[in-house]
């Protein structure tokens, strides 16, 4: 028998959702400040309208649903899944008001793409967008990359034992420090430190490349936020091609890899345990996976003679590959070149890299390396069981911060999430094919959306069908939250309709 949700459940969800909305609204102060600093009148008004609507909704929800009770697991999960939808709807308001998006749906698409750190974009006239709006596009990637809940936990939610439930709901099941709020703050410490260093590095290179100093550092901050959070937005329409600079590409590759590493691993590196990089199952799996997928891509490019020079093949092939594997989506080629010039084999290499992703508890999407490592360990264990004498006791271990014995529970969880991702990639591809796109194009774009990558082969554009835009929004949302909180929300809605 399904139980109908109680009023208490709805009040708890509404109250904490209200708190998170207020937190999100306050982040709009940053683009307001930038708009004022650059003397952009109307963009500043767009964000003032955005912050006002957000605060009104947040305060109203907190007032109507006021409670002092803590969150249950189910409520925590629903707060998370709803937070991301509400963030999309509210974050899209200033974007839509700018007039650079054809419809509110397009603005929502870009807002979800930003929060989910995907990088697919439907903006028009990007090269004429204001500093305030451009900063907001990248800031939402920074917020989404760390996690909307992490933002709220760090600054706006205090002393709540239900915090861990929301933290887990946002696809972060690893606690770096004993306290989840301290963990959130550590994630911000890492991100802000790298933000300062990354902005300085990119800013200096940009200035040396001939950009105006203000632009160089503004672009540096934006590109860092999108690269570290494996997002993929850029301030100009040409993506990374705009800069025409090898040092810029090298720095973004380093930042993308830093973003794809587990925050727990960052903590151990920061505290002096550098050997962990070499032993950790995720970094080993990531290294092997990059090598294999790059080999496939390089063979595909060589076969078709896309790049005659080896150095050019490496520069173009490796950049797109790393961008795909880390889930960033930065491109140094035009979207159409993927389909017109790259061979199917090279595209398959990139699709595999997108589908696999980076580390858990990082800013990347997709299946992730820990799960791939666990599945391979389980396969190895089963092969050993077949080959060794029946009486032999087979134990498989892996190193992830500490030595961990492989358990069926871990394998089941890894396989289940992997299966969900594969289904999500496939469903998006089917919808794409329904609208007439060839199989490989549809699979490429679907994987890119669901794995929160952002590489595009040209399917994503303002003229694509609205249903396909909605499909990609759902894929980005589900892929970012890793399904569990979304399944809980669906279950809650079913219970509300069918429950007794």
């Amino acid at each position: 028998m399904i139980l109908k949700p109680r009023l208490e459940d709805i009040k708890n969800i509404g109250f904490y959702l209200g708190r998170i909305i207020v937190g999100l609204g306050l982040t709009m102060l940053v683009p307001i400040f930038i708009g004022l600093a650059f003397g952009e009148i109307n963009p500043t008004l767009d964000f003032i309208i955005g912050i006002e609507i957000t605060l009104i909704l947040g305060l109203l929800l907190q007032k109507i649903c006021f409670t002092e009770k803590d969150l249950s697991w189910m409520q925590g999960m629903i707060v998370v899944s709803l937070s991301w939808l509400v963030a999309m709807a509210l974050g899209a308001i200033p974007l839509y008001l700018s007039g650079h998006w054809k419809s509110y749906l397009d603005a929502c698409f870009d807002a979800m793409s930003g929060f989910a750190t995907t990088g697919l974009a439907l903006v028009q006239g990007l090269d004429h967008l204001s500093y305030a709006h451009n900063l907001w596009r990248h800031l939402i990637m920074f917020i989404g990359g760390q996690g909307i809940i992490i933002v709220a936990l760090s600054f706006f939610v205090r002393g709540v034992s239900g915090a861990f439930k929301m933290y887990v709901g946002e696809a972060r099941d690893e606690r770096i420090l004993p306290n989840v709020i301290d963990t959130s703050r550590f994630i911000w410490l890492v991100s802000i430190t790298y933000l300062i260093l990354g902005t300085l590095a990119l800013g200096v290179v940009g200035a040396l490349n001939g950009m105006k100093t203000v632009n160089a550092f503004f672009h540096g901050a934006c590109v860092f936020m999108a690269a570290f959070d494996t997002g993929g937005f850029t301030p100009q329409s040409q993506n990374i091609l705009y800069y025409h600079s090898l040092p810029y590409e090298v720095i973004t590759v380093i930042i993308m890899i830093l973003g794809a590493i587990n925050f727990k691993l960052h903590y151990h590196i920061w505290t002096g345990n550098r050997r962990e990089i070499l032993r950790n199952i995720e970094t080993v799996a990531l290294f092997i996976s990059i090598m294999i997928t790059f080999l496939i891509t390089a063979v595909g490019l060589k076969q078709f003679g896309v790049y005659s020079e080896a150095i050019v093949l490496f520069r173009k092939g490796f950049y797109q590959l790393i961008s795909a594997h880390t889930g960033t989506g930065y491109q140094t080629i035009y979207a159409a070149q993927f389909i017109n010039e790259w061979s199917h084999l090279a595209l398959v290499g990139v699709i595999c890299a997108m589908a696999l992703g980076g580390a858990v508890c990082s800013t990347t999407g997709a299946i992730k390396m820990l799960r791939i490592g666990i599945i391979f360990k389980a396969l190895k264990e089963d092969l050993k069981r077949i080959m060794l004498p029946e009486k032999a006791i087979v134990i498989e271990k892996f190193h992830h911060i500490k030595k961990v014995f492989l358990e069926d529970r871990q394998v089941r969880s890894a396989l289940m999430i992997t299966l969900c991702y594969l289904v999500l990639y496939g469903l998006g591809a089917i919808v794409g094919m329904f609208y007439g796109y060839p199989f490989l194009n549809a699979l490429f774009e679907s994987t890119s959306a669901a794995a929160n990558v952002g590489l595009s082969c040209g399917v994503t554009n303002i003229n694509m069908p609205a249903a396909l835009k909605v499909t990609y929004i759902i894929q980005m949302w589900a892929g970012r939250l890793e399904f569990m909180s979304i399944f809980t929300l669906i279950g809650f809605l079913v219970a509300a309709i069918k429950g007794k």
């Binding site: 605060l55 009104i56 790049y307």
Partner: protein
């Protein structure tokens, strides 16, 4: 016997028609093959260049659009990016040719519209494999201008109304707590 010359005439006419057909076919084929060279006089869109990059590779092309972003000087040369309404393409140009560029496209200005004549590269080995154009000549077609931003009064009014609502909600929430 009387009909034979007529048949011959008809056959000759058919042969003539065939000759004209094949002549036009050959002419058309040649025109098509020479299209990239002939087209160099007419501006080619970025979409056409990107989608048919192999066809235009190494050819002299004319490309027109708005100068956007920064002019990035690198010694005697500079990178400018030209946006034609669909895509922007990087132009590698001698700094002596860009003296006339006064405005670049941004939120606060409409960039100069320029017509570039140069060599198109699908994979420019000199620039790490980028798709670019090495400019030989530049012509300003339309001058850019600063964009005067006017206050949007509808937005301003909405800000005021929402501020009133927000203040009311905030006061109500404070009362509840007390």
């Amino acid at each position: 016997m009387m009909r034979k010359p007529k048949v011959k005439r008809q056959k000759a006419k058919v042969h003539n028609n065939d000759f004209i057909f094949y002549f036009y076919l050959v002419l058309l084929t040649f025109s098509f093959l020479l299209l990239p060279f002939i087209c160099s006089a007419q501006p080619i869109s970025s979409t056409e260049l990107i989608n048919n990059a192999k066809q235009y590779d190494g050819k002299t092309v004319v490309y027109e659009g708005e100068v956007i972003g920064d002019i990035m000087r690198r010694g005697d040369y500079a990178w400018i990016n030209i946006y034609d309404g669909k895509n922007a393409i990087g132009i590698w140009i001698n700094t002596s040719l860009i003296k006339d560029i006064a405005y670049v496209g941004s939120y606060k200005s409409r960039g100069d519209a320029v017509e570039i004549t140069g060599i198109f590269h699908r994979v420019c080995v000199q620039h790490g494999g980028d798709l670019d154009i090495h400019a030989q000549a530049i012509r300003k077609t339309i001058s850019g201008r600063p964009i005067q931003e006017r206050l949007n009064t509808s937005k301003r009014n909405l800000v005021i109304v929402l501020l009133g609502v927000l203040s009311l909600v905030w006061i109500l929430s404070l009362l509840k707590r007390k």
